[in-house]
């Protein structure tokens, strides 16, 4: 059994859906004891929404839930019941860290804001990751990652200049959790050094905007609004996705330097068109980019996406196949070598392969364990963590405080 960076850190986890749980997954994967305080009345969306294993619904069969909640424990508590709230407070007293990703102001409405939590545990670290933060005119505005991607400005700069913006899905859901996790991990270290807890008011909106910073400066100093450019890049041509053999198969290619261009031409057999003056320099290739892309596509379409990637990379030119989920999990020798997916045994699913954390620590790598069944650790949490007696537990069950 290896060592883990967050061994002994205890988390009372009120997060749900996506950005919260992917944040606390980091803590659990690095060894913290993360107790999900779930509701059976209003279950986590990813326990009740597809995709399910074998398309059969069930609280423990959700693909996304099981991928993003690795290594955590689960207790079901009715927080609407005053006794449930008292129970939650007991877990908060036990915890070092409390996490939530409700809309701004929600924890306050439940009487579980930082001021209250400090009374229970003076050095508590509380992290609230709301769409807009806890304050401001939009603070309690509800929304999901696709809406946040829209208002953060990331959607407007995506897709083709002659079309409405292209879909980028719940993109900011992949930005906010990292900012949440890095802030939380730093706060845990800060408390170890200073003894001080604190309240971390994280706004997913403000995190998302970080990924536009250079364009924002361009707006500020040059009054230039950033617009979508397809796959164009000022410093490379060819640059984009090119069609390959098969149904809807593509390979990305990016040629930056003159050396790479010459290698590229060599790989594709130095066809006559590559020596035409209008493709000789980056500047000229950008002037004739549409024709260039067409000509490159006439080469790539003869080969599979993998063949294009391997032959170009071997010649020192950037190329990457655009795979499907199947390709990611089965046909990528590199991800296999890196053991990115880590098979788990699961009582209801059999086996499944959630991803590990993307950073590999040489001495204390993360440890992936399966996600919890709903309420799986209710008895353990009440007995071992809170020290309640069997009678006390039975009372809670009878009163439907826990489910």
């Amino acid at each position: 059994m290896g060592k883990l960076p967050l061994e002994g850190i205890k988390v009372a986890d009120f997060t749900w859906v996506w950005t919260g749980p992917t944040t606390t997954k980091v803590l659990a994967d690095f060894g913290a004891t993360v107790l999900r305080i779930e509701s059976a009345k209003r279950p986590d969306i990813w326990r009740i929404q597809p995709p399910f294993k074998d398309d059969k619904p069930g609280f423990n069969r959700g693909a996304i839930f099981n991928s993003i909640n690795t290594g955590k424990m689960s207790i079901t508590v009715d927080l609407g019941n005053p006794q449930g709230k008292e129970l939650a407070k007991k877990f908060i007293r036990w915890a070092d860290v409390v996490t939530d990703n409700f809309a701004g102001g929600a924890m306050k409405r439940m009487g579980l804001d930082y001021e209250e939590l400090k009374k229970i545990k003076p050095d508590i670290i509380m992290m609230s990751s709301a769409l807009m933060g806890q304050t401001g005119p939009w603070h309690d505005s509800p929304g999901y990652g696709d809406q946040l991607s829209a208002i953060s400005g990331l959607h407007e700069i995506s897709g083709w200049p002659d079309r409405i913006p292209g879909e980028i899905g719940f993109y900011t859901d992949f930005i906010a959790p990292r900012f949440n996790a890095l802030t939380l991990l730093a706060a845990i270290d800060y408390r170890r050094r200073t003894g001080k807890g604190q309240f971390l008011d994280l706004a997913q909106y403000q995190a998302g905007i970080q990924y536009l910073a250079p364009s924002i400066l361009d707006q500020v100093v040059n009054n230039r609004v950033a617009t979508r450019r397809g796959n164009k890049d000022d410093y490379a041509a060819p640059h984009g996705s090119y069609p390959c053999k098969g149904e809807d198969r593509w390979c990305a290619i990016a040629v930056f330097t003159q050396e790479e261009w010459e290698s590229f031409c060599r790989v594709i057999g130095n066809p006559a068109w590559t020596s035409a003056p209008r493709f000789a320099t980056l500047e000229k290739r950008k002037e004739n980019e549409e024709e260039l892309d067409r000509l490159v596509g006439e080469w790539t379409i003869k080969y599979t996406d993998e063949e294009v990637m391997y032959t170009l990379q071997a010649a020192g030119v950037g190329a990457g196949r655009i795979g499907t989920a199947e390709d990611q999990m089965e046909n990528d020798p590199h991800l296999k070598f890196r053991q990115f997916y880590q098979e788990q045994d699961h009582p209801e699913l059999g086996k499944y392969r959630p991803p590990r954390q993307p950073c590999v620590l040489s001495k204390t790598p993360c440890r992936i364990r399966r996600a919890p069944l709903i309420g799986e650790h209710s008895e353990y949490a009440l007995k071992e963590i809170l020290g309640l007696t069997d009678d006390e537990i039975e009372t809670l069950v009878i009163n439907e405080v826990i489910q």
Partner: protein, 413 residues
């Protein structure tokens, strides 16, 4: 502007050797209060050539990309390849808490600066390496420009929701995949920091950009052996998600059933109140509406009424109405819109950063968090080329002015 003494990372020093692939990591750590020293090759890092530029003046001290990615850092120039350069670097490494780098795997080791070498100098040091495919594996020497990393991650724009009559695309302008890796590198650095806190030991953090952007919808494949086709419809009918309005676009989707009360009904009411609804729309039974039982004609009708309404309003007006009526409608902001956001204003998000060399200050996007003890904030603008050579090499390391001059002439500094 002074370094943030009250930051989460104020006691720590970071040596930042990264290029474009990893600059974001040091920026975040600097904004959190760490003492970050950007080490560039003599003459300045290649990332200074990345636009856009201040007033479109192409100059290594005016790259807005460089400005954005290097806030809160000081800067020195140092060539770590020659023996004298390596010796100076090791002196700095001995007192550093973190070193971040994005060289090809093996490069640092070849210079005698791999993790095992650095560990001997400084057992508590945390080395963070950011590369396209990580330190190991069959693809570790592959080239990883942002376009390629988007492809290797098979993310939402590559395999996802959009129409499939155009090539898969990446988000324009910025190397998003590098930002993801830079942020992830901080996560890894912080995890390692926590281990060091209890053990005294540093370690090597290996960040693969590919792994940071690996978002293919696994559920379908791992759970049901299905791969989602690009452009596969989520709804049985054609349903609009991005709508034009008077001055841009908004994101809105109608829902029926129990959720309609909270979402669709408030918008429908607003449209009716403005006199823009026909009888059909006024009488629509939202609670019993479903995309699975409605006809395309129904949806088209509902959407025509809605589109006509949206076209009479600006993004700001629609957002204001959405907030007031609690409708889950959001505009697609442009960079110009962000500067006008009342929410960002109220959160004190913007930070005016002094640029004395330009004779002005510039408004930067600021903090991502408001902490009760340690709110991150930009403490200074990005460094000029070699701006702190004297401060670090002479004042701190004790080199003489003569020695510094000699090193400069030799191209080491």
């Amino acid at each position: 502007m002074t370094r943030n003494a009250e930051g989460l990372l104020s006691p720590y020093r970071v040596l930042d050797l990264t290029d474009e692939k990893g600059l974001f990591c040091g920026k975040i750590m600097g904004d959190m209060g760490a003492d970050v020293i950007k080490i560039e090759k003599p003459g300045g890092d290649d990332a200074r050539r990345i636009g856009p530029f201040y007033h479109d003046e192409v100059d290594p001290s005016k790259s807005l990309y460089w400005f954005a990615m290097n806030t809160s850092k000081r800067g020195v120039t140092l060539d770590i390849e020659p023996p004298e350069g390596r010796s100076i670097f090791k002196k700095l490494a001995a007192k550093a808490d973190f070193i971040i780098e994005s060289f090809p795997p093996g490069y640092m080791a070849e210079l005698g600066l791999g993790y095992p070498d650095l560990e001997k100098i400084n057992p508590g040091l945390i080395l963070v390496s950011i590369t396209p495919f990580g330190q190991t594996g069959p693809f570790k020497d592959f080239k990883g420009p942002d376009m390629v990393m988007w492809a290797m991650g098979a993310g939402p724009t590559m395999r996802g929701y959009d129409s499939h009559d155009r090539p898969p695309f990446r988000i324009s302008h910025h190397p998003q995949t590098y930002f993801h890796a830079g942020t992830e590198a901080v996560v890894g650095a912080m995890a390692a920091l926590n281990y060091r806190g209890v053990s005294g030991e540093g370690q090597h953090v290996d960040v693969s950009i590919q792994e940071c952007v690996n978002w293919a919808p696994l559920g379908d494949w791992d759970f049901n052996r299905r791969s989602r086709k690009r452009g596969q419809a989520v709804n049985p009918l054609q349903v609009t998600h991005i709508w034009p309005c008077q001055d841009g676009f908004v994101m809105w989707r109608y829902t029926g059933g129990p959720n309609a009360l909270r979402h669709s009904v408030p918008l429908a009411r607003w449209i009716v109140a403005e006199g823009m609804a026909d009888d059909w729309f006024k009488n629509l039974d939202w609670a019993n509406f479903s995309h699975y039982t409605a006809t395309q004609a129904d949806v088209d009708h509902m959407e025509k009424v809605t589109l006509d309404f949206f076209m009479t309003k600006t993004k700001a007006e629609l957002m204001e109405g959405a907030i007031r009526n609690r409708i889950m409608l959001y505009p697609l902001s442009t960079t110009a819109d962000l500067l006008e956001s009342p929410q960002l204003e109220a959160r004190k998000f913007w930070r005016d950063v002094e640029h004395p060399e330009l004779g002005t200050s510039i408004r930067y996007p600021g903090t991502w968090a408001v902490n009760s003890e340690t709110t991150p904030r930009i403490s200074r603008r990005a460094p000029l080329v070699g701006e702190h050579n004297r401060e670090i090499f002479v004042e701190e390391l004790g080199l003489s002015e003569e020695e510094l001059r000699t090193l400069k002439q030799a191209g080491v500094v």
